[in-house]
């Protein structure tokens, strides 16, 4: 059971206090998009062995969604940051690079 820190209210809490929301930084494709784009948006998900960006909601706390950068293999949490961003902030990337020099970067 993971320990996560909500970047909005600052509380570090048990996984059961949060609800997961799957892969983060997806781009929404609505009306007018091609079948390929819509398929990628709806169904294609990364399942990396290593660095991953995930959406979580502090459902039984402040109610805010946030994003966790963590390692799916060791469960190390590199950082959590508010969801109002299209890509991981530079300082989060830096933290990940410091811990995972071989990481090929967020694609």
């Amino acid at each position: 059971m993971l320990l996560l820190t909500c970047p909005c209210c600052g509380v570090t809490a048990e996984e059961t206090e949060f609800t997961p929301g799957g892969e983060a930084h997806l781009k929404r494709f609505g009306p007018g998009s091609s079948d390929e784009e819509f398929d990628a948006y709806m169904f294609q998900r990364k399942n990396p062995r290593g660095v991953h960006f995930e959406r979580w909601r502090h459902a039984y706390g402040c109610g805010k969604w946030f994003i966790a950068a963590r390692c799916t293999m060791t469960l190390e949490v590199f950082a959590t940051y508010p969801a109002q961003t299209l890509e991981p902030p530079a300082e989060v990337i830096e933290k990940i690079r410091a811990r995972r020099p071989d990481w090929e970067g967020a694609q």
Partner: protein
């Protein structure tokens, strides 16, 4: 024979004898005994039968690793099967019974399996029961089910009479294992200022050290243990706990502790078990090591025990497993047992050592005590049927065709070396390495488990780290380093010095003798509990099972309740040998929590009965309960399904309620309905994205029914939206959907359109809501007075607010029944008073409350859909004829793109229609319309299914809705639905709206 010695026993209190029974036979032991010790003291060597072959089995170990001595404990609603006698503390009146035999322990007729051992070899089930196919269900499975399983399940009807609890806790440093290493580690961490918890699974501190003659600072270990425990007890930053097993280590330092609070004092106040849910910053495992058996023919006979267990019973309980023992070993440690027996005045016939030239300090001490040592030898086979009578000896490097010597004895102590208990280390990602000198897997210090920050959060010390001797210095360092994770400058003093005899290297012996022929290998047990032999593992290897995980499942090695604590290493060594590869290349199977089985009660904790889950109550809940409500669970709510009057059946009550709404007036507690306030300058725009239809055009004071879809275009929720003012909407959701829809709104607002100014609040529990429906509804409300509810003042799909009979009410003129209907919302605190006032005002008008079933029937008569009945996550609004509720003007809304996919446009899609049985009967729930022929999966082809089906008291026949292929184009066609027992039900496709198609009743 096994017996109690007249003196000694460091853990027993001879002044307090305790009586207990085994298979109904009265026996006695002493306070401090384990059940196993008491049974051995009473010469009860035979304690159970094995799983497959029903072979006689006796106690083999002295702790958590015991595979054989499993008993059923207690009786009635306190009966529990598969309890280990070796870790069950004796108490007055304990009742135990042995397992896995018929008709009784001494005469087990199922032991016939043993006569044809080929009968149940590895993979037997897979090979034997494959054909003929039809035999599986009616012949094989019933037989296997009858004979499979250990012990007896407790009576299904009786509830566990005991209480259990769970507790959350935190520690900087959690130390698991209260031997001398664990005690020292805890002391060091505590002295360095950390908040420390220390758990020990047994009832005693100090582990094996006192039994094994360890000295600390030149004195017996016992003195140091006593002083150290006293010091720890006095420290405010330390909590130490006996009878608490570290059951599992999970992510980020989350550790489960299984505390057996009162197993040893039944009937005492307090819980029986307590499950600790501990978040530990740093963890130290000092879980010791487990001795390995040796694999020789007949090593499972009662009387063959681990050498260390014999020593434990002698020193701790003054119980001797025999009068004349043979010790068989490949290492020096077993000589401690020989010396201890001799010291207790017992006979040691010989120590049989697989090694040549045995000259270590311990063997020399044994020689000096006059004990005979037979070198380069092994046991060829053990003689005896229900207990050991003697052994045959042969050269260790031989096929064992004949014996070189026979020895008479009544006990055999075996030692194949020690395996560190690495389970906890492995639970959360710690890796192992093979120790070439000690021939065991031990924790790899370079690949430890890590915590949330990615840094190591677990250290291991003592025998669990493969260490023999100089344990305290290592434990001291582990304790200090763990504390320094919190305070880098923390310091602690040096540790005391522990000393023990030096030991010469062991020599691995995986089967005895090394080239044993098949006849012997087929009697060498690896897994005592699941009856897996050396020959089974070798057969698995020959049949191509090269992965240790596959071999485990094929042979069931290590899959019993002991999870292979004794068999693991021996089994994979045999597999490695059969595959011709080194042991590290084979690797181990995965260690999974819990370390030993924990009770279901502890897992449930206090969450049983009424507090199993939270119950949500509407303000009118108590009235419903007092007035015959038949409850229906809706999420965590309870809603009245119907209100039964005295002597009335459910069906009759429902029919009465349904008729009364159409003929007079009914009240429905609609408080569970989701109510979410959506407000802000961008609220109209946001509402247009959420709903398939246009919401921004809704005028304040008006209501509109709307649909919400997910991005796939599948219908997710529906309900009525009321526009409160220019910038705020009150969204009604389904009762079960409120929390999910609120979360869904927040998801889009926070993660996609975070620049939109919208605020959402889930107000579901802030309001009580009552639907007043039926031709007399307006007259009833006029009786309360205060607000003009006439047709012109409050037309259909309008809402108003003001005083209604003194209540602060918001009145919505909406209808889910097709009748004249008002939904009255008041602050939750006024809900019950409103309910009472409505009942009173309606008394002369024939008012009755109605439940959810009447609600369902009334809406089905009108052809209204219900989320979860007509929808199942694959249905788009167009399937339900709801195209009118899908905006063509909006360029975007959630689900729009999903609906545009080719499959959603398919004219063959199943569409919602009414279904009318030709004979007026009620269709079965979920019934399918069957076509002739088979589909690609060889299943019957279908062309439709029932989504809602009821008996309508108003129409006097069954009514139903369903989804049918091209259904709306096939009005009047007759379909064939499958009924029970292959009956065919003929059903005509009709319009789903059966009452008042023009909606005049709701419009009056």
């Amino acid at each position: 024979m096994s017996h109690r010695l007249s003196s000694g026993g460091r853990l027993i209190d001879r002044g307090t004898p305790l009586r207990f029974s085994f298979n109904g036979k009265q026996m006695s032991g002493y306070k401090g005994d384990t059940l196993a010790a008491s049974l051995l003291a009473a010469d009860q060597m035979l304690v159970g039968r094995s799983f497959k072959y029903h072979r006689p089995r006796g106690v083999v170990a002295s702790g958590a690793e015991e595979p054989n001595a499993l008993v059923g404990l207690g009786s009635g609603n306190r009966f529990e099967p598969n309890q280990r006698a070796t870790s069950t503390e004796l108490f007055e009146g304990l009742r135990a019974r042995s397992q896995n035999h018929w008709p009784n322990l001494d005469l087990d007729l199922l032991a016939v399996n043993n006569l044809v051992p080929q009968f149940l070899t590895a993979g037997f089930y897979y090979k034997t029961f494959l054909w003929p196919r039809a035999f599986w269900k009616h012949v094989y499975e019933p037989i296997i089910r009858r004979s499979a399983g250990l012990g007896e399940a407790p009576d299904a009807k009786s509830c566990d009479a005991d209480r259990y609890e769970q507790i959350y806790a935190f520690a900087d440093v959690l130390v698991i294992g209260g031997g001398i290493a664990g005690l020292q580690a805890a002391l060091a961490a505590a002295e360095a200022g950390a908040r420390v918890a220390l758990w020990e699974q047994t009832a005693h501190w100090g582990g094996r050290a006192p039994v094994d003659g360890v000295e600390i600072d030149g004195k017996p270990a016992e003195d140091w243990i006593k002083t150290t425990v006293e010091r720890l007890e006095k420290m405010e930053n330390v909590e130490i706990r006996l009878r608490c097993m570290g059951a599992g280590i999970h992510d980020h330092g989350y550790t489960l502790g299984y505390e057996r609070v009162s197993d040893h004092i039944p009937g005492s106040h307090g819980p029986r078990h307590r499950l600790w849910r501990m978040r530990a910053g740093q963890i130290i495992t000092a879980t010791g090591a487990i001795e390995r058996p040796l694999s020789f023919a007949g090593n499972d006979l009662p009387g063959v025990m681990l050498a260390s267990a014999i020593r434990d019973y002698l020193v701790n309980y003054a119980v001797a497993p025999g009068r004349d023992a043979v010790i068989v070993t490949n290492n020096d440690d077993a000589y401690r047992t020989a010396i201890a027996m001799r010291r207790a005045g017992l006979g040691v016939v010989a120590v049989i050592d697989a090694r040549a030239d045995v000259t270590g300090a311990l063997p020399q001490a044994a020689r000096s005590a006059g004990i005979r040592i037979i070198e380069s030898s092994g046991i060829r086979k053990v003689k005896g049927s229900k207990r050991v009578k003697g052994v045959e000896i042969c050269a260790i490097d031989s096929r064992g065709v004949a014996f070189t010597e026979q020895l008479s004895c009544d006990a055999v102590g075996m030692s194949g070396g020690w395996s560190p208990a690495v389970h906890l280390w492995s639970h959360c990602g710690g890796k192992l390495i093979w120790d070439e000198a000690g021939h065991f897997f031990r924790p790899d210090p370079d690949r430890p488990p890590t915590g949330a920050d990615g840094r190591p959060n677990l250290r291991v010390c003592g025998a669990a780290n493969g260490r023999l001797g100089a344990v305290l210095a290592e434990a001291n360092a582990a304790g200090l380093e763990s504390a320094q994770a919190f305070t880098p400058t923390a310091e602690t003093g040096p540790a005391a010095t522990d000393t023990t005899h030096d030991e010469a290297p062991m020599e691995p012996v995986w089967i005895m003798p090394r080239q044993a022929e098949y006849e012997l290998r087929a009697k060498m047990w690896l897994d005592f509990q699941n009856d897996v032999k050396v020959s089974d593992v070798q057969l698995a290897a020959r049949e191509g099972f090269q992965s240790v995980e596959h071999t485990k499942r094929y042979t069931t090695l290590g899959m019993a309740t002991d999870q292979g604590k004794l068999s693991n290493i021996n089994g994979l060594a045999v597999l490695s040998d059969a595959l011709g590869q080194p042991i590290p290349a084979t690797g181990t199977t995965t260690f999974r929590p819990p370390y030993t089985p924990i009770s279901m009660g502890a897992i449930a904790g206090g969450a049983v009965g009424d507090v199993f889950q939270p119950l949500r109550r509407t303000p009118m809940h108590d009235w419903h309960a007092a007035n015959g409500a038949d409850w229906e669970p809706v999420g965590q709510w309870r809603r009245p399904y119907t209100y039964r009057r005295a002597g009335e059946s459910r069906t009759k009550a429902v029919n009465r309620e349904v008729r009364n709404v159409r003929e007079a007036v009914g009240l429905l507690d609609a408080s569970t309905l989701g109510k979410i306030l959506v407000s802000g300058p961008d609220a109209p725009r946001f509402m247009d994205m959420l709903y398939t239809n246009m919401m921004s055009s809704l005028k304040p004071g008006k209501c509109r029914y709307g649909l919400m879809c997910n991005e796939n275009g599948f219908l997710m929720d529906d309900g009525v939206v009321a526009r409160l003012d220019e910038n705020s909407f009150l969204v009604h959701t389904t009762s079960g959907g409120a929390d999910h829809i609120h979360g869904w709104m927040e998801d889009w607002l926070q993660c996609e359109w975070w620049d939109w100014q919208v605020h959402t609040v889930n107000l579901t529990e802030q309001y009580a809501q009552v639907a007043v429906a039926g031709p007399q509804a307006r007259r009833l409300l006029e009786g309360l007075g205060g607000t003009d509810l006439s047709r012109d003042a409050l037309p259909f799909m309008g809402w108003t607010e003001g005083k209604l009979g003194g209540f602060d009410a918001r009145v919505f003129r909406i209808s889910f029944s097709g009748e004249l209907s008002f939904e009255i919302a008041v602050p939750a605190g006024q809900g019950r008073a409103l309910w009472d006032a409505l009942l009173q005002a309606g008394e002369s008008l024939g008012v009755m409350p109605y439940g959810t079933e009447a609600l369902h029937i009334l809406r089905a008569e009108k052809g209204f859909i219900m989320i979860g009945d007509e929808t199942d996550g694959t249905v788009i609004p167009q399937d339900l004829g709801l195209n009118w509720a899908i905006s063509k003007k909006k360029t975007d809304f959630l689900g729009k793109r999903g609906m545009e996919r080719v499959a959603m446009q398919d004219p063959e899609r199943w569409k919602l229609v009414g279904l009318e049985t030709l004979d007026g009967s009620v269709l079965p729930h979920g019934g399918l319309a069957v076509l002739s022929g088979r589909n690609a999966n060889k299943q019957a082809r279908t062309e439709g299914r029932v989504t809602s089906t009821y008996y309508s008291a108003n129409l006097g026949r069954g009514i139903a809705m369903g989804l049918v292929a091209r259904g709306t184009e096939r009005m009047g066609e007759v379909l064939r639905f499958a009924g029970p027992k292959d009956k065919v039900i003929k059903v005509r496709i009709v319009d789903p709206v059966l009452i008042d198609k023009d909606g005049e009743r709701q419009n009056v």
